[in-house]
Symmetry: C2
Subunit: 333 residues, 2 copies
């Protein structure tokens, strides 16, 4: 029953950074995934970023039977019809624009639909969630938000600090996202979000994507599907059924070197272990119910078991992301 429902859904994963290859694309398709927001870069320069975009354009040729680009919300529906997985581009940091506000539109024209204003650290635009002090959105940040609003690039504050996030919600003329994080009350992690942030996000018409990264979950890798779905239910009670979706943060088949890059970029002389530690540096153990893309149907099933209606499940699993994209990536009204 839930399996059949899952096949009918538009399923959107609001964030992954996997070691993209044919096997993973096949898994995504067989797991009933309609579209995935794929992270292109963390710390990369403008020049490095356009090379990454070139690699993706090659993947769209090499795996045209399995994946397709998402350049509009309509492309997600096309992916569903075609039985392919739509891929939409996003940056987890503002490093690709360097010091040049003009590059926001350049990258938007290359179909980059989402950009985080900061990643863990202070950026020229905003503060990251691991900094001690958060002075809020910067001068460049205010102009960048205005420009992202203008060209239809979604602001993502997943890895940003509290004050910067609240200010971004307020300054932005269009709703923003926190593509992959959970409420702090579920797990008190620097990457999770306070009730103040989530309430402001929901009131402004924004979207939260629930993360399945073990460091963001109660009991870490041992978090049960029921605990995850109960968290969703309680969050829906405060944020509303239209403001939530998925953002699994799956990092499939990635070697430790990639985790080291995500945490340290080129900025750290002393190794930073992020949510881990020197004794626990590695990738966390995968969840039993979402070891890879084959686990998406389990979430549909878990939501059904938790008592969500078909319509509510449809929204959480993808319709909310689809509707958000429809409103957010066109030119400003």
């Amino acid at each position: 029953m839930a399996a059949r429902l899952h096949d009918e859904l538009v399923v959107v994963d609001g964030l992954q950074y996997s070691n993209w290859n044919r096997k993973l694309f096949e898994q995504m398709r067989s797991g009933g995934l309609t579209a995935v927001h794929a992270t292109l870069v963390y710390w990369e320069s403008a020049r490095e970023t356009i090379a990454v975009i070139g690699q993706w354009l090659q993947r769209f040729v090499d795996h045209a039977d399995l994946i397709r680009p998402v350049r509009s919300a309509e492309d997600i529906l096309a992916a569903k019809r075609e039985g392919r997985v739509g891929v939409l581009f996003g940056f987890q940091n503002c490093s690709p624009i360097e010091d040049d506000i003009g590059l926001i539109e350049v990258f938007r024209r290359l179909d980059v639909l989402v950009m985080q204003l900061s990643y863990n650290n202070q950026s020229p635009l905003a503060t990251g969630c691991y900094e001690t002090n958060d002075p809020g959105i910067t001068r460049f940040g205010r102009q960048a938000i205005r420009e992202m609003n203008r060209v239809g690039m979604i602001i993502d504050m997943s890895h940003s600090a509290e004050r910067s996030t609240l200010e971004a919600i307020e300054i932005s003329q269009r709703p923003i996202v926190i593509s992959h994080a959970n409420p702090t009350w579920f797990r008190d992690a620097l990457r999770n979000k306070s009730d103040a942030v989530l309430t402001a996000l929901a009131r402004s018409g924004g979207l939260l994507g629930f993360s399945t990264y073990p460091f963001h979950l109660k009991n870490g890798p041992d978090c049960t599907l029921d605990e995850f779905c109960t968290m969703i239910a309680r969050t829906v009670d405060t944020m509303g059924i239209d403001q939530v979706g998925l953002g699994t943060d799956l990092c499939l088949d990635q070697p430790y070197s990639v985790l080291h890059w995500m945490r340290n970029g080129r900025w750290a002389r002393d190794t930073d272990y992020g949510e881990g530690s020197a004794n626990n540096a590695q990738w966390p153990k995968p969840l039993a119910w979402l070891p890879d893309a084959s686990g998406y149907p389990n979430i549909t099933q878990g939501l059904a078991a938790r008592g969500f209606s078909r319509d509510e499940i449809s929204k959480i699993m993808g319709q909310n992301w689809l509707a958000f994209l429809e409103r957010s990536i066109g030119p400003e009204a």
Copy 2:
């Protein structure tokens, strides 16, 4: 009569590199120009090139009443209807792709519609017209031609050497252009083209844009409008009326520093004077009948005086470029 005809035409200038500003855009519009192929770069890197694209996107905002981007052939007709000047992007060299074939599609997606394979010098793809030896299209060059064919980016051999040009015509599955040059018999300059090249270009369905750069003209800056139009007539006799257009090579309001950059980039320790010399290093004196964009109607008038029919004038002044773009910038059939 000719003035009225000029106003009715779609006028396409197949190459300019001017010091773009509002005054020049106004001149272009009042000169009846419908669209211009604007050079973005000569020697610039990928990173520098995306900054230049960002500057153009800003110009489209700042001067939206005068100019518009050309992302398809249809956009040229839209420019005509709107009374704006369409701007289409091109590179005079392959420097923006550096060593990465994937950047061809990246730049194509940024609406770069034309790229020269070499500029005066040997490039990784082809030989330039000032080199002593021309070994022809390189290994990378063959793959780049294939890729440009695939994504619909036009190959331009204006500044390339003879053998490389003949090979590009042969290797390319789609017709190519020489956007701005004249026959060698009109003026024996390294930048002008032999009958062998022009015949092969015409037979393959390619296009020649006639240059008005004084170094490419008989009698240089003193070349008369009648001499220019007579050259067109004689070239049409061999190439056919459908294979020619304009490519003025106007470089309006540019300081000498820009000419030095075009000739020397970052490669020359000993100053290269291009078609000039140490004693004649500066920009050539402008033509009396085309001092700036206000002179386009003179060309229409000159062609009429030379006996071309209305239909022939229409083709030379822009319809041939329009038809060529219609066939060339979509994905490969």
